[in-house]
């Protein structure tokens, strides 16, 4: 949600400078993802508003109330004088439970034209295009108060009547906009109609027919509230997520309609002083009831693990303009109508805690004494893996997703729609893959294992599979563990013991080395050296002259002794990080190596 600093300042005259706002919000309200300065002298913050605060923070007034509350600053919330209005013959019928409130107001003698600069500056600052004064002012109120508003061209209504109801199945409807998109409605979609034809998809988008045009003289302002689940389902089904539907689907308080209708009327009057306002018709069958929450200082303290005083809690409540009553039992707050997220005492713990400041909470490691033990499956898995590595197997992990199986998933982001029914297939693929890389791995053969779940029609089962290129064995975890000899011992290593595996003899961390995607080349070299000479002398030469193209430790693959000389045969593996090596490049390196070996008095075979 893009929030303009200047817009906030109109609510909070004493707001601190923009550079202080981002951290204040991030550590006490919600994450500020970016801060951008515009060339019109404004600063725009992008707030990551999560579902619990989408009721009130998708509006500048909501964010202003938060900032003023956190800092204990005065907030100017104007109320708007009643506008002289004439009688109206507008009729509003709500024929669906999904509409919680509908306020309609006819305004005549308006002139569609450009919006005042202060409004376009604020709207453009948050990325909204200016269209005309009427469309802009409805947009303005939505980003200002969090209340979506729709304006209809009155002459498109066949009668001065609005009926809110569910659409007819397979009803076609053309949306407003240059693309002239036509959607097919269903009975689960709520629509705004004039009783004869559909004018808008409630809470989502208006129709092409009834939108505001440059010669519109009379309008109907709709300030309404709709059931969040209904709007969400419709918006999703039609793939039509709009700023309006986003707010409705997160639920808005119907009480916001009052202020929204007053403010938009006031702004229209300012822009069109000759406008004639009819009385507002308000259908509000089940008014939102007031909620109270009771909580105590000791509850807040034990939940957060702090010692907060009643005075500190009172200051926070006062700064936020909460109506509350305090007694010896604690506090009883009246929940502000826009705070649909506040229902139970732990909701107030968060309100108090984040204002108090989480950085003030002192960490305290608890003492834990339990009689329950680890789940035996954990112990079996640990034991199975220890047994397998002691037998020389290396652990692999393969994909659960396959292109065939007994349990199918829906709409995967890849082409593999089934869950594996065995581990063996994955192990086979792993062996084939690893065999291509035997020289890189410095191994003579591949021995791998996997412990994991498989999925069949009869359910989920944990299996153990292990093998090499000749043979793969797969069995259940239980059967594998039963087959482990009773004299096999192992222990669950401590974290310090485990982390020793990452360090070399000098206790230096050996980090993961990413491998090259380019092919490798191997070369074998066998050299006779005197029996008592250490073969390390050869390895030193290979490593020095192999350059950094030498990817792994030279690997001894053959040796034998004859007549006081030993032949050592090493395999050298070369690979570049950024290209495919040529034979010529490697031939050159081998020539250098051969020359050096000869110069040391050894015979190359």
């Amino acid at each position: 949600m893009l929030i303009s600093y200047n817009w906030l300042k109109s609510y909070i005259p004493e707001i601190p400078e923009a550079s202080k706002i981002a951290d204040l919000v991030t550590f006490h309200v919600c994450e500020v993802e970016s801060v951008k300065e515009t060339d019109k002298g404004d600063t725009i913050f992008d707030l990551n508003v999560l579902p619990d605060r989408a009721h009130d923070l998708y509006s500048h007034i909501g964010v202003a109330r938060e900032i003023a509350g956190l800092l204990g600053l005065k907030i100017t919330e104007k109320s708007f004088p009643e506008i002289l209005s004439t009688d109206t013959d507008l009729q509003i019928d709500i024929e669906t439970q999904n509409c919680r409130r509908y306020m309609g107001r006819v305004v005549k003698n308006i002139k569609v034209g450009p919006s005042p600069k202060w409004m376009t500056d604020l709207l453009e600052g948050i990325g909204q295009r200016s269209i005309n004064n009427i469309v802009d002012v409805t947009n303005f109120i939505m980003f200002d108060l969090g209340q979506p508003i729709h304006a209809f061209d009155l002459k498109e209504l066949s009668d001065k009547k609005i009926v809110v109801r569910q659409a007819g199945d397979d009803e076609k409807f053309e949306l407003v906009g240059s693309e002239k998109a036509v959607v097919t409605l269903k009975n689960t979609d709520m629509v705004i109609t004039d009783d004869l034809k559909t004018l808008a998809i409630a809470g989502v988008k208006g129709g092409q027919g009834s939108g505001i045009k440059s010669d519109t003289k009379e309008i109907l302002i709709e300030v309404a509230n709709f059931d969040p689940v209904s709007v969400r389902k419709t918006a999703r089904r039609l793939s039509l997520q709009t700023d309006a539907s986003k707010r409705y689907e997160n639920e808005i308080s119907p009480i916001v309609c009052n202020l929204a209708m007053d403010k938009i009327s006031y702004l229209i009057k300012e822009m069109c002083p000759e406008a004639i306002f009819e009385e507002t018709v308000d259908v509000y069958p089940r008014p939102q009831t007031e909620r109270k929450i009771s909580f105590s200082q000791s509850y807040v303290s034990t939940m957060l693990g702090i010692n907060i005083t009643n005075e500190e809690i009172e200051k926070i409540l006062k700064d936020y303009n909460y109506q509350f009553v305090s007694s010896k039992d604690g506090f009883e707050v009246t929940v502000p109508s826009t705070r649909i997220d506040l229902n139970i005492p732990c909701d107030m713990v968060e309100e108090i805690g984040r204002a108090y400041g989480y950085e003030k909470i002192v960490p305290e490691v608890p003492k834990i004494n339990q009689v329950i033990k680890d789940n035996p499956i954990w112990t079996k898995i640990y034991q199975a893996k220890q047994k397998l590595i002691s037998d020389g197997y290396k652990e692999v992990m393969t994909y659960v997703f396959k292109d065939k199986g007994e349990v199918e998933i829906l709409a995967a982001a890849s082409d593999k729609n089934f869950l594996r029914t065995n581990l063996t297939d994955g192990i086979k693929e792993s062996i084939l893959l690893n065999q291509k890389n035997l020289p890189l791995l410095g191994l003579d053969n591949i021995k791998v294992f996997e412990v994991g779940a498989i999925f069949s029609k009869s359910g989920e089962e944990i299996r153990v599979a292990y093998g090499d290129s000749k043979n793969i064995i797969e069995t259940t975890l239980d059967k594998f563990c039963e087959s482990i000899p009773s004299d096999f011992s192992y222990k669950e290593l401590s974290q310090e013991e485990i982390s020793k595996i990452y360090v070399n003899e000098n206790s230096q961390m050996q980090f993961f080395k990413p491998w090259s995607v380019y092919p490798f080349i191997t070369r074998d070299i066998a050299v006779w050296i005197p029996e008592e000479t250490d073969k390390e002398k050869l390895v030193e030469v290979y490593k020095e002259l192999g350059t950094d193209l030498l990817t792994t430790e030279p690997k001894l693959f053959d040796s034998f002794t004859k007549e006081k000389r030993t032949s050592y045969a090493y395999r050298l593996v070369f690979q570049a990080k950024d290209k495919t090596l040529t034979d010529e490049e490697i031939n050159k390196i081998m020539e250098d190596i051969t020359d050096r070996v000869k110069s040391l008095g050894f015979e190359v075979r």
């Binding site: 006490h28 994450e31 909701d347 960490p363 305290e364 890389n437 003579d444 595996i501 990452y502």
Partner: protein, 274 residues
């Protein structure tokens, strides 16, 4: 006759051998034309780096007194969502990209190991037990999103759950700070809390970690929502506590400098570098 080395421990013929520093066996005698090939550390098995990281994490929490619990990967919606206060048709369910199953309505591949926390609490209450308790749940989880260097469709998490009469946010902070200090031993570790939202906790937090230079967003946590406790039969007026969840693949990338999470699940031994 010299026996071929297949598995050193089983080889019974120990004549004619020279034991080298590394402990492997080099046959120097050669009979007929049979060449006995040797390799250093021929018998070395190895664990996948994710297993190493998981075992490290589990060991630290067990040291603090936590106990390991495990659960199914294929789960019903009650245990994966509804019990966790994530209602159907609510934006909060969108916060996770879920794998639903064809022909098996009401089931999903679990999106977090929290399903197991629900199962644990239900089992505890059904067997006549009560809090306090502290468990950690490592396991594989699934998200239906496109893959890249830091995202895979299957990955590992470890979640913690501690419930008792006075378990607080201060305890949560203490446990996590202690965990990271030990996991990143020798570094200047600190944690900080920011307000956030998850359906199953209230208050909810994002927790950032600092290893001596900058802050990075690392995990979500919070005080378990009373609805979740009541859904499992636990009296939320008497008991309270925290839950948290950390991505193990992420920890592996941070500690071992693995550069791409997709390397882990190809069955590729080039990742077994430890």
């Amino acid at each position: 006759m010299v026996k071929k080395i297949v598995n050193g421990a089983k080889c019974k013929d120990f004549k004619n051998r020279t034991r080298l520093k590394s402990g492997s066996i080099l046959f120097t005698k050669r009979l007929r034309n049979v060449n006995i090939l040797t390799m250093q550390e021929y018998k070395k098995g190895s664990l996948h780096p994710i297993t190493l990281i998981m075992n490290e994490a589990v060991s630290i929490f067990k040291d603090m007194g936590f106990v390991v619990e495990l659960g199914p990967e294929l789960e019903d919606e009650w245990h994966n969502f509804d019990a966790l206060n994530i209602p159907k048709d609510h934006p909060a369910r969108d916060m996770q990209d879920t794998f639903f199953l064809k022909d098996k309505e009401g089931f999903v591949l679990r999106t977090h190991t929290s399903n197991t926390q629900i199962r644990f609490m239900e089992k505890l209450i059904n067997s006549g037990g009560q809090p306090p308790f502290a468990i950690i749940v490592p396991g594989k989880v699934f998200r239906n999103e496109s893959t890249d260097t830091t995202h895979e469709m299957q990955f590992y998490q470890i979640e913690g759950l501690m419930i008792g009469e006075n378990v607080s946010v201060a305890n949560m902070k203490g446990v996590l700070l202690e965990f990271f200090k030990r996991f990143f031993a020798g570094e200047n570790v600190d944690v900080r809390l920011r307000p956030s939202f998850f359906s199953f906790v209230e208050p909810g937090f994002e927790i950032d970690l600092n290893r001596g230079d900058r802050w990075i967003e690392l995990l979500g946590a919070g005080m378990v929502h009373p609805n979740v406790l009541e859904n499992c039969g636990i009296d939320s007026k008497k008991y309270q506590g925290f839950a948290f969840g950390i991505g193990l693949d992420r920890l592996m990338m941070m500690k071992l400098h693995v550069t791409d999470t997709r390397f882990s699940y190809q069955g590729d031994l080039r990742i077994n570098q430890f």
